[in-house]
């Protein structure tokens, strides 16, 4: 076993060597511009992009023509939201999203709000689910867009996307789904799920950084978008700019591999996840699971360790890459808004650790992480005045804290 151990696969994933292999020829020998229509260099690149587009579309049960390449899921979210709002503004000025969306959606929505769009932020329940009934009630005749994520990047909760899609369809509202964490990990079918626009990215599925896609439905209904980037009219005019052919080749290969290995991989990751959880829960008391026990991404485990602060845990696990919802690890000094939205106290939000398993993690690594987490939490609890007070029988909720 090699150290350090990488267990932060929601953040990014290492590239699969097979993906790199697929990309390499397109940097040097096959360097053509896919938009060059008048020579063989261009045709070769165009053919390659077509193949990759088909691999990507297959993974999500879409038509290849419905795939718009972008620089990543953040750009896809921006394009979907801003593009729809600009195009359909005359139809209405209201959209619906949820409080646990990724920043790429929430910050885009905030900008739209400043431009006069009215936004309903749906709450989530204590396991992180959006309630479809809440969504149904929030739709008005002015609603032009619903943006609800497929699976949460912090707690792994998988939303009832099929039900959300049905409601959107029956009420005639476009449904954008940020599926950055879902695609490649769980089966995605834009038809069965009733999704009209969907953002996803290559580097979360063992592909290269710098490329992503926006699925844009062409039939029932045909979704139109105002472009954010003007230029040569690439990607059906929705996103101009020369296509990064090597990155797209990598993206395609990454999708093809996911398609092949998903059933086995998801079973294996679920087993590793449960091994990790059971190992930690066996060794430590007062550890709380954030999210749902089974309706979560196979590779996600998010735990709050009462009485210790997340950043100090990460510091103790210096040879293990995981992440924390602690304020101290964020630029804003606020603890994770996702964990807070579940209704747990902010003390437990400060104590949350996210484990993101991936294709290259092993059982041996999981066992090592269990051991090191146990040691670190025990050490920090011995150092924690809160743990001491709790063990003395003090109810921490009744203490008058001197806030600062």
């Amino acid at each position: 076993m090699k150290l350090p151990i990488y267990m932060d696969n929601h953040s990014t994933t290492p590239m699969d060597p097979r993906v790199l292999e697929a990309m390499l020829p397109y940097f040097t020998e096959k360097f053509g511009n896919a938009a060059s229509r008048n020579h063989s260099f261009g045709w070769e690149a165009e053919q390659a992009v077509d193949d990759a587009r088909r691999q990507i579309a297959t993974l999500i049960h879409a038509d290849p023509k419905e795939i718009i390449f972008t620089s990543g899921a953040t750009e896809s979210d921006n394009l979907a939201l801003k593009g729809v709002v600009e195009m359909y503004r005359e139809k209405g000025d209201h959209m619906i999203t949820s409080v646990t969306e990724h920043r790429a959606v929430l910050d885009t929505v905030k900008r739209l709000e400043k431009q006069g769009i009215k936004v309903t932020y749906l709450p989530v329940d204590k396991e992180g689910f959006v309630n479809p009934e809440d969504l149904n009630k929030a739709i008005t005749d002015k609603t032009i867009l619903i943006s609800i994520m497929m699976a949460n990047n912090e707690i792994g909760t998988i939303n009832p996307v099929v039900e959300i899609g049905k409601i959107a369809k029956s009420r005639g509202v476009l449904f954008h789904c940020d599926a950055t964490q879902g695609v490649g990990k769980i089966p995605v079918d834009v038809e069965a799920m009733g999704i009209d626009l969907m953002s996803f990215s290559a580097h979360k599925i063992y592909g290269p950084k710098g490329v992503g896609a926006l699925y844009v439905r062409r039939k029932n209904p045909r979704v139109r978008l105002a472009p954010m980037i003007d230029g040569g009219g690439h990607e059906r005019g929705m996103r101009s700019g020369t296509l990064p052919v090597p990155l797209i080749m990598g993206f395609g290969k990454a999708c093809e591999i996911c398609m092949q290995v998903m059933p086995d991989e998801s079973k294996r990751l679920t087993q590793l996840r449960e091994r990790l959880k059971e190992g930690i829960l066996k060794n430590l008391d007062e550890v709380y699971l954030n999210g749902h026990s089974t309706k979560r991404l196979p590779n996600n485990m998010n735990l709050s360790f009462a009485y210790v602060e997340g950043e100090s845990v990460l510091m103790g696990l210096k040879e293990i890459a995981v992440s924390s919802g602690s304020a101290c690890t964020s630029a804003t000094l606020e603890p994770s808004y996702v964990i807070r939205a579940l209704g747990v106290g902010s003390d437990l939000a400060h104590s949350s650790i996210r484990f993101g398993l991936g294709r290259f993690n092993t059982e041996e690594e999981v066992d090592y992480v269990v051991k090191r987490v146990t040691e670190t939490i025990q050490k920090l609890r011995a150092m924690s005045p809160l743990y001491e007070m709790a063990k003395e029988g003090v109810d921490l909720k009744t203490v008058q804290w001197a806030s600062h």
């Binding site: 009485y307 210790v308 602060e309 950043e311 100090s312 510091m315 103790g316 602690s326 304020a327 101290c328 690890t329 000094l333 603890p335 106290g345 902010s346 003390d347 400060h350 011995a382 150092m383 924690s384 005045p385 809160l386 743990y387 001491e388 921490l396 804290w401 001197a402 806030s403 600062h404």
Partner: protein, 130 residues
């Protein structure tokens, strides 16, 4: 976040970690911070003839908070109450090379020092000065 070597050193080898019995006459206890804010520090001093002969801490917080309180106990030991009261958060910032986002950890440590001294004085009904 990159930590300074001194912060890492204090985190790995915390000085004077632990607790004194709160009820003992010569012990002063200061608890500052709040769990919702992500840090709580408990500093305790043991005083003999106006001088701090021993100090202990327990901290819930990030590495910088742990290091700040660990350093505070080191600095307090051997000082009179009046001397210890003069320890400034800026000195802690400097010693541990804390970045701007971690300055609140040093402020908390200074508050904890003052709170422990105040508690001791209140308990003994003296100003503790010699």
């Amino acid at each position: 976040m990159a930590y300074s070597n001194k912060v890492i050193e204090h985190y790995n080898n915390p000085r004077n970690m632990g607790s004194f019995p709160k009820d003992e006459k010569e012990v002063g206890t200061g608890v500052v911070g709040a769990p919702e804010c992500g840090d709580v520090m408990k500093l305790q001093i043991k005083v003999e003839a106006g001088r701090i002969v021993d100090a202990k801490f327990k901290t819930f917080g990030c590495g910088s908070a742990i290091a700040s309180s660990s350093l505070a106990t080191e600095w307090m030991k051997g000082k009179t109450l009046d001397e210890a009261e003069k320890i400034k958060n800026t000195e802690i910032v400097q010693e541990l090379s804390l970045p701007p986002v971690k300055i609140h950890c040093s402020v908390l440590a200074e508050d904890a020092i003052k709170a422990a001294i105040t508690d001791y004085r209140k308990k003994t009904g003296s100003n503790g000065s010699v």
